[in-house]
């Protein structure tokens, strides 16, 4: 297992408040993403536990792209990963945001 943590400066704008949302399931080539509000002084925090070791840079790039696609702040994202490909990770992250924002409306 490898445990990674990335902190991104948030992009203040809309303030969304909703209950935490879970999408996906931990399994071979799949992952679960838990997204929830957190007091991070405007930042966003992503923590990852993955069964595949040595892809920290890929995770950083996928999460950087994700943060650029959305306007998020004070959000904590927690991931349990069973070896998902970057494309699957991106889709799950977008699904989590869609669920989260949907619940906040």
């Amino acid at each position: 297992m490898e445990h990674l943590e990335f902190r991104f400066p948030g992009r203040p704008g809309l303030v969304w408040k909703a209950e935490g949302k879970l999408v996906g399931v931990v399994g071979s080539g799949n992952l679960e993403v838990l997204i929830e509000p957190a007091d991070l002084k405007g930042d966003c925090l992503a923590t990852i536990s993955t069964s595949i070791v040595g892809f920290g840079e890929t995770w950083r790039q996928v999460l950087t792209d994700f943060m650029e696609r959305h306007t998020l702040s004070d959000i904590r994202i927690s991931i349990n990963d069973g070896g998902a490909t970057p494309a699957v990770v991106s889709l799950r992250l977008d699904q989590a945001v869609a669920d989260y924002l949907g619940a906040a409306q």
Binding site: M1, L22, L34, T50
Partner: protein, 295 residues
Amino acid sequence: MSGSYLEASARNRILGLLDPGSFVEFLGPTARVTSPHLPELDMPVAFDDGVAVGEGKIGGRTVLIAAQEGKFMGGAVGEVHGAKLTGLLERAIDIKPSAVLLLFDTGGVRLQEANAGLIAVGEIQRAVLAARHAGVPVIALVGGRNGCYGGTSIVARTCDWIIGSEEGRLSISGPEVIETVEGAEEFDSQDRALVWRTMGVKHRRLIGDIDRVVADDIDAFRAAAQDYFGKSRPLALDALNAEQEFLASRLKRFEDCRDAREIWARLGVNESGRVPDLNPDEFENLASSCAVRRP
């Protein structure tokens, strides 16, 4: 919510069965109560340990409900997963809901958690009996891709009622386990027709192991479950003795049968080869006249 029960995730099965907006989850993913064993084995955990439990309403009546997520470790029962199910059943004794619904989708005990998982299954079974003893009907729903196998199948048979869709299977040992132990001549796990007619819910219904076969549809499961609200099977000693006698006489009646189709023919099913093709309504008509009746 209409839609395939088979294809839905654990939480979506719950949300589809319950009245809209009524679900309150206990120990949900944000509580992060996860397996203490999997990290020791360098394996990823799930934030809900593969089961969602909580309270809600069906047709305005309060129920407790649990759904195993079959895609996490095959829905297998670990220590935390089991404790969530046990806790839910113990809560039933306190609040006396109209029913407890257990949505099984599982291969049984999580082997990685070995003894803790086995103990958990024993605790769940004891809690099912305690809830039933308190007068709360416990209903098992079997319609997920993993079926209901291993120790969890024993738990299911401890419930008052079992409802299944044709995709569901109920058995102690899975097809591959039997093939490994007894050989492919005895049981070919790749022969899906053999697997389904031996372990599938239609066979289970015909020999009196389960109570209802429904379509693979969340609405159909909800309608069938509601029929059992407030209805308990007797749990006194004479009822258990009668059940034991029933099982012994059933074994004697069919012990020379080499295939489920022989059992069906002996039960008076015409054209037993057509059983797999019958839709749930046609099949229930057949079962109501031919199926073995448990006491």
